[in-house]
Symmetry: C2
Subunit: 240 residues, 2 copies
Amino acid sequence: MTNLPSGNSIAEVAHLIGDAARANMLAALMGGRALTAGELARHAGVTAQTTSGHLAKMTEARLLAVEKQGRHRYYRLATADVAQAIHALMALAADGPPRYRPVGPRDAALRLARTCYDHMAGRLALALADSLVREGHVLLADGAGLVTERGEAFFSGLGIDVTGATQSRRPLCRTCLDWSERRPHIAGRLGAALLDSALERGWVVRQAESRALRLTRAGESGFAAAFRLPSDWRVEGVAQ
Amino acid sequence: MTNLPSGNSIAEVAHLIGDAARANMLAALMGGRALTAGELARHAGVTAQTTSGHLAKMTEARLLAVEKQGRHRYYRLATADVAQAIHALMALAADGPPRYRPVGPRDAALRLARTCYDHMAGRLALALADSLVREGHVLLADGAGLVTERGEAFFSGLGIDVTGATQSRRPLCRTCLDWSERRPHIAGRLGAALLDSALERGWVVRQAESRALRLTRAGESGFAAAFRLPSDWRVEGVAQ
DNA sequence: GGAATACTTCGGCCGTTACCGAAGCGTTCC
DNA sequence: GGAACGCTTCGGTAACGGCCGAAGTATTCC
């Protein structure tokens, strides 16, 4: 419509996100798993045909990626950049006027451990971040993070390779403000690798229909041993 | 209207940004300077009364902050978080379908040195970032950055205190993808401090009606000496 | 084969909102 | 004082776009 040269396409992207139904779908996809059109419709609270239109637009704009599987269509966030943008908007929304706002997830399971796009969040993630800092494996300073040499060896022992760090444009390690606890946990490529590794070892398992992660008995002892977690890491509000 | 518990206010924020006129105003404010309502109207290409409505909404939502000065009203981005969110959306918009898109600022002065919200961008900023990494003052790894001990001393010599790093929630050092050069430069609190310092020393001066920074003769030699810049730092496309 | 499921396309309704003209306030300049 | 300027408020118009019902296309299950 308007033919302004630039600074306009940002409006198009924001316009897509700036609809309640679509925003709810995107928020649901921040859980990291691919969801079907039907599941997204339920999350958004609109009918299937309305959802279909929304998904087509977001896919067209490369916010989402689709995968056909039988009669289902699985949608996921197209890139980490999309998750990053949504995260930045969430941070803005969290500020705002001091009107009513529910503070974090109610569900105790969600507060303990959940996924946040492609990495872990909740008390468990905070305990891991604290441990990595305490043991000198990563250095964190307000939003930025770096893996130390000592850390490289440590992660290598967990089967996580971080040497190719500078190759990818994707941040190796960045922090992400934990929704329920309001403290930073580890995101970025390292955060994703930690989640993958934990899932592979069976230390945590995804829950159906939820972003919650269930901590297994193996995980209970595995995390504690590998990361030297303090015994009280489950207690809320304990800093460091 | 809809009374979904959460994940909704993100839609409200995005909805605000998702209008061409408002997005253009925000993009103009990414230059870092406060602008009057009239200037913003010209940037957006709409009348004063339309602009007034837009500005009221964005101020109400705490995206913008106002300052009255005589018969003028100066608007600026309310917080660094707002700049961060807009930046993330710009990154998304830059991806998108491969249709027509102008590649970076045309003006040579803009490519050499300009402001990006509260820090420097352009060839100069890239040369500074390269220097800081080469001299071991900061460590950069994909989007994240940390100041070394050596760096703390260096910045202290420039009158920049970085010890209070962990106090503020605002990232001390983070990178920002340079629009014209597609390489990261230094943003965050450190980036802002570098710009402030350079302005104070008269090494660069702001240009009227533009985001461009003019490099002074004092700056020419000052930057070269303090940061040990290579002689060819002005040449485009030179990595490191 | 037929029925059920998952998703899409089409058409029409209706609420939201961006836009501008006109008019109103407050400030500055002469 | 009056005129010019910067910005805001009000009212009416026009259009964009989200929504659902109905109908249509795949795919799976029995």
